[in-house]
Amino acid sequence: MTSGSDAKPRVVRHAKGKRPKFSQVAGVDELMSMVLVLASELCVLRDRVDAMERVGARNGIDFAAEIERLPLDQAALEAREARRQDLFQRLYYLARKEAEELEAVDTAERYKAVIDEIAKP
């Protein structure tokens, strides 16, 4: 929901319903999600590099040599830092959902109660 009348509407980010536990070892589920997010971002990056190389090649540009000579100005430094912070937002999505669940008091008991209630003829 928006915080004020002028604020841009934001879509919902987390699904309602207590997230199940898979590993009995604390933190392993979170690590699993983080590893997969990292793998996803690695693929995103690799796809972009692939796209750049293909675009360059179509236009007769040797990207490999150009990249080695590229200086990083202030705008480049800021863009890269913003991208890294965005990556951390994705990486820690579960920790943020857990905090939301605690705030909304959404529990595994409620989830189980919904299953029972909805199965009831």
């Binding site: 929901m1 928006t2 841009k8 509407p9 934001r10 879509v11 919902v12 980010r13 987390h14 699904a15 309602k16 319903g17 997230r19 199940p20 898979f22 590993s23 009995q24 392993v28 589920d29 699993m32 999600s33 997969l36 997010v37 793998a39 996803s40 693929c43 995103v44 796809d47 972009r48 796209a51 994705r90 999505y93 989830y111 919904v114 299953i115 209630e117 909805i118 199965a119 009831k120 003829p121």
Partner: protein, 408 residues
């Protein structure tokens, strides 16, 4: 066989940046990998490790899906499989949410202008009671569920469903994500000889993926799609207009619609019933019987009952109940669906389960992106493994015909 299936673009689909497209492809590829490479391992893990451990502790083999589940829960391979599958679902929705969040005001405007130019009806009442089985949990972990509106005229959850459902189906449902509808249409044309429906109702139509094929294949018929989600029917109406289909949509509850008795001769639903409840399902069957004209058909494409499969398969399929916010997934499969139809007024002799073959080869025939003949053939021919998306061969359909005199 590499899966390079691509969804067909239309005016309502949110546009993705290069990075967003890559995240979406990653989620789809991960789902493909989980099905092809992790899922088959559950069988030997159960047979050689989890079942043996259970037998050591109990002096006997696990007797049913509940005991199989209890034996598997502590197994590290199962944990890796189940948690990877869950994360793939979360990343899939997240990959689409970014595009929608960026484009939301424009998406709402596009829906408004497309709908305004359409001749088909769009009915959304001022007040509507969303059933609890839709509002209690965000089904299949889709953030916002089917009904959340974050702005006036919102379509965000519908746009999320349109793109996300395509990725969930890993493209097996064709470039328009309409394989359920196309398959049931084909089933009607091939198996119900001489039956030419004039008025068709699609229950729980969401964004109209499976609704539009009916208008394409029965162009003279009046086709309606109804759903409990206002954003869904709003989006469905705009999407149909964008695709040039005159299909009517309304926000209604399939348990009690506002249509007149006997006013439809074909009523269908696609993957709807398992998202309802034990209270709602009998009401929906009754409503279908009320709405059908004598001789009319009701066809529900959904999950086959548990008594048609072994306990291990039941266990794998029931994972959706526990790990994907699908509270009715397992309980629905335990219900006697034939008896529900009988109780609703259909004659037992006129009720049966059948199979509607997948239509993915038609997508290849239309040269949709990524749908090569070989890749489509591989999906159509493959052996079904429990837990994969889509059975090999076809969808399970529950068919019932209302008797010609209207009474049983």
């Amino acid at each position: 066989m590499l899966n390079t299936f691509q969804q067909r673009a239309h005016a309502m689909l949110p546009a993705a940046t290069h990075d967003e497209s890559s995240r979406q492809e990653f989620a789809k590829s991960l789902k493909q990998f989980v099905q092809e490479a992790l899922l088959p391992g559950l069988q030997p893990v159960f047979a050689r490790r989890a079942a043996a451990k259970f037998a050591d502790e109990h002096g006997r083999a696990p007797a049913d899906r509940r005991e199989i589940r209890s034996a598997m829960l502590s197994d590290p391979y199962f944990q890796t499989y189940a948690s990877t599958n869950r994360v793939s679902q979360e990343l899939m929705w997240a990959s689409v949410t970014d595009s929608i969040d960026r484009e939301l005001p424009q998406l709402i405007d596009r829906a408004k202008s497309l709908s305004a130019a359409a001749t088909a009806n769009l009915k959304i009442p001022e007040k509507f009671a969303v059933p609890r089985y839709v509002s209690a949990l965000d089904i299949h972990c889709m953030p916002g569920g089917y009904t959340t509106e974050v702005a006036p005229g919102d379509v965000s959850v519908a746009a999320l469903y349109d793109r996300g459902a395509y990725l969930y189906c890993i493209g097996y449902c064709g470039p328009n994500n309409d394989d359920f509808g196309v398959s049931v249409c084909n089933y009607v044309k091939r198996n119900l000889k001489g039956f030419k429906p004039q008025r068709i109702l699609d229950l729980g139509c969401t964004v109209g993926h499976s609704t539009l094929p009916y208008k394409e294949r029965f162009p003279d018929a009046e086709v309606w799609g109804i759903d409990v989600g206002a954003p869904l029917v709003r989006y469905a109406h705009a999407r149909a207009a964008a695709l040039g289909a005159e299909v009517h949509f309304a926000q209604m509850n399939a348990e009690a619609t506002e249509f007149e008795s006997g006013s439809f001769d074909l009523i269908v639903s696609h993957i709807l019933l398992h998202e309802t409840s034990a209270k709602a399902m009998p009401r929906i069957m009754h409503e279908c019987h009320r709405l059908l004209a004598p001789g009319g058909y009701m066809i529900h494409a959904d999950l086959p009952p548990f008594d048609r499969m072994d306990a291990f398969t039941q266990f794998i399929l029931d994972n959706e109940t526990w790990y994907n916010n699908e509270p009715f997934w397992g309980a629905m499969r335990d219900m006697d669906q034939i008896q529900l139809c009988v109780d609703a007024g259909f004659a037992r002799d006129n009720i049966y389960f059948s199979t509607a073959p997948m239509a993915i080869l038609e997508a290849a025939a239309h040269s949709a992106a990524g749908y090569t003949d070989a890749a489509a053939q591989a999906v159509a021919d493959r052996e079904f493994a429990a837990g994969e998306f889509a059975p090999g061969g076809g969808w399970e359909v529950l068919v019932a015909q209302k008797s010609l005199n209207g009474h049983e």
